[in-house]
Structure formats: C-alpha cells, structure tokens
C-alpha cells in the first residue's frame, strides 16, 4: 500500500506551468494508492515526449524507452514477471503515431497492461507539430496550411482490435480520471485510458475552456458491454460533445493466462542448471 510520500521522486516536473500533464500525474498517483498494491511491484514504462517524462517524477521502478516503443518493452517485462503491475505512459504521437502498430497488436494480445495516453492532440516536446489526433485543419509548424488527414480514433481502434477495457478521461477531472486509471490497473487484460490533455503551449484550440464546455460523462445507463454502442460513442467528437468514461469492457483471458509455463513467473524460475539432455537426445 503505497503512500503519496513514497511515490514522490523528489524531482519537480519540468512541464510548462498549467500543462494538463500535472492533472494526469496526480490522478495516476491517486489511482496507484487506491489499488492498495505494494510500492515496489509497480513498474512504469514510458515513451518519449513531454508525457514520457512521467516516471521521472515518480518513485517507482521504471524504464523510459524509445519514442513509440513503450508497449513492446512493457509486454516483455510483463511476460517476464507477471507479478509486476505494469503501467505505460506516453503521448498521442508516441502511441498512435509512430507506435500505432504496437498499439494494435498489444490490444489483440490482451496483455495485462494499463496504458495511459496523454492525448494533447499535438507534439509537445518537439515544440508543436501535428499529431495523429490533431483535428483536420489544425495549423502547426509541420502543417502551416492545416492538417489534411482525418484524425486517428484511438477508442474505435481499440474496440476494433480487441482491447478489453477502453476508457477516456480528462486531465481536468482528476477524481473521475483516477477512478478510470485505478479500474484499468485492477482490470485483468489490456486497459486503454486515453486522456484529453490540454497543452497550454502548443494547442490553442483544444484548451481547458474548450474541454470544459464539450466534455461530458457517459450516462449511468450506458452499457460498456455493448460493442456497437461503444463504436457509436467513439465516433462522437467536437463542439457538440465529447464523452468520457468507460466505453467498452469485456472479460477475456489475458495473454499470460494462456501460457501454462507462466504459472511461476519466468523471473522466479531457476536457471543455474537447465538440463538439456533430453533436447540433445532428440537430435540423435
């Protein structure tokens, strides 16, 4: 049962003042505490971007990987030690752009990971280029005449790819978000929590004010077991309203569940003297 004090790395986040990342960091800490899991069993994996710095501000085991490669690293770690609680943080560019392939494949595997995407609809750390979630027409350094392509829809992709927990939160609603993350951590299987995150420096379109007006919570009556409803909801975006909450949820064995050789975590299996005589005998 980790405490806030224990989670603190003692380093002050170097994000821009007012950045939505602060809200996500707080929600994440809160969620980690709420799960009641032991401190040293958390293993954080981050991509590269403003968002990718998250583990630097937390006092947990962590690895800060390459741009777009957090999910494979996390997958390897989880399969090596199923006792770890593996949480992945990264940005929209990191996860839905350069990392899109891994994203799809991790979900259909139902690897037991919690993936928190800091979705600010822009590239922050490289000083403001378009991201795969940027809205059509968005003008940036790399698209001065406006983005041409339609944005990636991470929730629809997740539902189509077999993710078993698909949620969207908002950095401006920490209480709601921390619940989404905590549930994602407890969920057995791949949990996506896409988080709407204002970037106060480079995104002057999708701001706190804008989200405050557009974001609404999925109603109590919404049934997250209904895949088609989830698709439908995932298509909603824009001034007319953006739903947050759990879009889709199902229960399916995780990847590790289907590997009998993981009944003891790999990392705990002795390797000092692996006998291969039978293997050699077969070659004769």
């Amino acid at each position: 049962m980790v405490t806030l004090a224990e989670l603190n790395s003692g380093k002050i986040p170097d994000w821009c003042p007012g950045c939505g990342d602060f809200g996500i960091l707080n929600a994440l800490k809160r969620a980690m505490m709420d799960t009641g899991l032991p401190h040293e069993k958390f293993y954080l994996v981050a991509g590269i971007g403003c968002s990718g710095k998250t583990p630097q501000w937390l006092n947990t085991y962590s690895i800060h990987t390459l741009h777009g490669r957090a999910l494979p690293v996390a997958t390897g770690a989880k399969l090596a030690n199923t006792d770890l609680n593996v949480i992945v943080t990264g940005g929209d560019g990191d996860g839905y752009g350069i990392g899109a392939g891994h994203f799809l494949h991790a979900m259909r595997r139902n690897i037991d990971l919690t993936y928190v995407v800091f979705n600010n609809l822009v590239y922050g750390l490289t000083t403001g280029q378009t991201s795969p979630t940027s809205e059509k027409g968005f003008a940036t350094k790399s698209t001065p005449f406006g983005v041409i392509e339609v944005p990636v829809n991470p929730l629809a992709l997740a539902i189509a790819s077999g993710a078993t927990y698909v949620a969207r939160g908002y950095a401006g609603d920490i209480v709601h978000l921390s619940k989404l993350i905590a549930d994602g951590i407890t969920h057995r299987g791949f949990a996506l929590i896409d988080v709407l995150q204002p970037c106060v420096t480079f995104n002057h379109k999708n701001t706190y004010e804008w989200y405050q007006k557009t974001v609404y919570k999925l109603p109590e009556t919404y049934n997250p077991a209904d895949k088609m409803a989830a698709f439908q909801k995932s298509m909603e975006w824009g001034d007319s309203g953006i739903p947050i909450g759990v879009f889709y949820k199902e229960s399916r064995p995780t990847y590790a569940d289907e590997l009998p050789q993981l009944s003891t975590p790999l990392v705990k299996q002795p390797i000092d003297n692996v006998d291969i005589d039978r293997l050699m005998q077969k070659m004769i």
Partner: protein
Amino acid sequence: MAGQADLDFSFKMGGEAGYGIAQSGMIFSKACTRMGLHVFVNNEYPSLIRGGHNTVQIRVRAKPVPGHTETVSMVLALNRKTMDDHEKEVLPGGVILYDADDVKDTKKERGDVSYCHIPLLALAKEAGGERIMRNTVGLGAAAAFCGLDVGIMNQLIKEGLGKKGEALADTNIRAAKLGYDFAAKNYDTKAFGWKLSGRAGEPPKMLITGNEAMAMGAIRAGCKFLAAYPMTPASAIMHYFAANERECSLVMKHVEDEIAGINMAIGAANAGVRAMISTSGGGFSLQTEGLGLAAMTETPVVMIEVQRPGPATGLPTRTEQADLHFVINAHQGEFPRLVVVPGDAEECFYLTAEAFNWAERFQLPVIVMSDKYLAESFFSHEKFDQSRVTVNRGWIVGEDWLKAHQPFKRYFSTENGVSPRVIPGTAYGIHREPSDERDELGSIDEDPQVRKVQVERRLRKFASVQKEVPAPALHGPAGADVTLVVWGSTKGPAIEALELLEKQGVRANVMQFVYMWPFPEAAEGLLREAKRLVLVEGNATGQLGRLIRQQTGIKIEEKILRYDGRPLSAEYIRGGFTSLKGGRA
C-alpha cells in the same frame, strides 16, 4: 579404393521443392550418424515454396567433417536440372542415379561416371506410393551402392512418420527396398568405390544445425524469452524455441515486427530474465534503434544475427558474410557492445550460452553472428558437455545489499565501469532507467560533467570487456608459411583447405577471428608474427580485413573472397590461393 579411415563420401540429391528432398536427406544423414560416422549436410534452395531447384548434399567421413566439398561421389537426380547442373561435380568412379523416364535426352558427357537409371516413379507406384515417393526409392538405390545400413534407415523412416504414419512408413520402406533391389540387381554396386560401414562403440552423435545449436545453447544458459519474427535463415531458432516452450518452460513470442522484438527482449531482460532476439540483416536493421536502448539502460540482451546476401531483400535463402561492420557500428553514438561469431555448430552452442554471461556480467547488448551456411547446415556432433556451460549473472544486488546502500545508485561510476543491477520488484531497489543521459541515480541530467562521467564509465566498461576478450583461434601448424585469416562459417572450409594446400606443398594455418568487438588485443601480435597473411571471407570487400587494418594498421593485400551467394569451400580456397599473385606487398 581408400579405406574406412579415409572415407570421404558426398551424396547430392536434387529436385524441385516440395518433393521431400530435405526429409530424405535427413534420413540418410541420421542413418550415417547412427552408424557412428560423421556428416556435414548443406542445402541450396531458392526463395519459393514449391518447384525451383533444391539440393541437399551429405558428406560422410569417419572423422569430423568441417564443411562441404565442391565434388560429390553420388548424385540422385530427381529432375533434369540436377543432372545438367551437377554432372560435372561427380568424381571419377561416381554414380548418377536418375529415372530415365523422367530425365530424358541429357548429354551424359562423362565417360568416367556411371549413369544408372532407376525407375523411381514406377517403383514408387509399385510400392503403393505416388510421385512424391520417388526420393525414397532413390534412397534405397543409393544405399545399395554406398552400403548405408538399411535397418537403421527403415527405423528412421518409421520414427519420422510416428505412430499415426505406420502404414505410410511401410509403403516407404517398401519403396526403398524396391530401389535397393533394383540397383543391386541391375548394377555392379559392389564396385562403387565409397562404402559406409558402421563404427560400433562410437559415441552417439547429434545431427544439428547452427541455428539449433544456438537455440540449445541459449536454453542451456537459462534464456527464458525469445522475441522473434520469421526471417530466413534465422527462423529455425524461433521454431526451436516455440516447439520447446512448454517442455523447457520458456516464452517464444512471435512479434508483430522486429522492432517489437528487440524492445520486448529489452523489457524482459530489464525485468530480470535472460532474453534474446534472433533475426537476419533486414530485421537487425529495424532493431538498430533498440540496440541503443539496451546499451543506454545497460540491459543485458543477446541478439542473434544470421547473415544472408544483401542489400535489402537480396538473396533470402543464400549465404554471405557481409554484415560485420554494420553490426559493429549500428546505432548512433558510442557505447559498449560485444560481437562474437561462432564458426561451427559446437561454437554456436558454447558461444551463444556464454553470450548471456557476457551480457549480464557487463550489462550490455551482445550480438552473436551467424550466416546461412552455418545456420542451416547440419553438423554431426556428440552431445555437448553441459558442465562446460556455467551461469554467471553478474552484479545483481538484493534486499540486504540495498538496505546498506541507500539511495540505490543504479549507474554508480565504478572502476571497471559495471554498476550494480537490481531485479524490479525487489524492495529498496527502486530507481529509474531513462534512455536519456542521466546521473548515477537514474535522473535525467544534462550537465556536461555528468555526461562526461557516464561516457567515461561506458568507455571503461568497454575496456574491461576488451581485456577479457579471447585472442583469435589458431588452427593448424604453428609458424606456417601462410596464414589464412577467417571468421565465422569459413572456419571449416579454411581448415580443410590446409590439407589441400599441404598437398601442393604449402604449409598453411588458419587464424579464426571469433570475438570481433571489442577487437581482441592479442590479435595484432599474432598477425604480425604470421609470415604471409591471406584473407578469406564470404563477401566482396574483405570486411574483416578492413577491421584488422582499422585496429592494427595491418593491411592484408592478398584476398580470397566469394560473393555469389554460395559458401566458401576448401576447393574454392585452394583455387583462390593458386590464382593469388603470391607476392606480399
């Protein structure tokens, strides 16, 4: 005719893919090893699934076989192309088995070779089989000539088809017998100059490829995680791991691409298990970035890179040794890595196993290189000696040590450059591992002094590895007049070439580079002592030569290179040697 001790018999089977040549080759080869003989089996096949021109060549001796030969004693031609292409390779007194009903109007130009028609298809049908069983008939006929033990052969046919295949096995055995009898009856098989005879009391031998030996070495070393993506000629490593997932309690993940592969292996290794990837050059290209992540976080991963001719898709199923500088220099920046290249199946086993110790003791990526010729050829070898493989996991610290050393400095600057490591999940060991430059605690830090300290620590680590790296191996007589400088799969052909050169009055030996990077310091002395250096490599530019010059200043002017996608052989080397100017610049 030479006696058993001098036996040197090569049998080539050729035909289209999908006609069971590989399986027949295995039966023939295993029958030989069970007879106590040594074999070496290499195969040539194009990048397609059915059709094309495929050959399996089995060389049998009473003593270890270092490689294939360019000549053969017997050919089984399942199609005309085999006859046309390989007729010229047959030694005087040799035999070509073929079905005259299939292989028509061939030139049959050799007067010193017997062309023996065997009605392969007719006999296959007579046995109750189909066209696909022609090769079994041929196997029987071959046995009649060379004296392969038919009992063992039949036993292997049964084992291959298993309990469910009993009826099929019987048909095959019948087909082989028909072939045998036809040959024995119609030809003077006794006069055939190469006879295999069992060597009772010989220890049993495995028939094993370089790929399998590497996989086995990794498993013996406690590797629990392989993340791989299919790529010829490395795929058999993943297949071997996959087949043994449950028996050996390990995970083989067929990943979405090689990028995921290296990063998963890093994740697994970072979490504390021995982990590796296996791929060929194209996949390694994609893993170039991940290699640096392993280096920066100091995560021990083992990477197996099996070379094939490039660039790009190149010749996917052929052989070449042209990735040396690529592997040594891949990824931006400067950091320690270790590159080691086995030369035969035995070295594949022991060096791959040892690779995990290097990786963990020095917390760095280790790359084990191979090539198609080494990876997919079969070697006969006694069971490997398990006691020669020990596990050394390096400096991993536990709770007690950690309690006494707070805060935990993951990247503490030590004299030999190696810092303490901890398995995530351990109490008191919490720390961060960024891919950015960082201080001793793992906090990102851009201070020039911090950078300098970490760069210099990594350099010291590299130097520590270099101090331990073994010298190149020497084979053949000391103080020879000529030294063939080789690496990787060229080892065998080069060693055998010594005998051929000896016959021409040239006293030569072989200097085999095994540890390539860090460059072994002892190499320069050995090279300078040599009287005449001749570089022998499977590439077009002499990559080892370039490395040697870079590290020692020594320029090897004389070169025997091969770059047509085919492996070097003793004869090729002899031929190459003969056409050298002979002078030393």
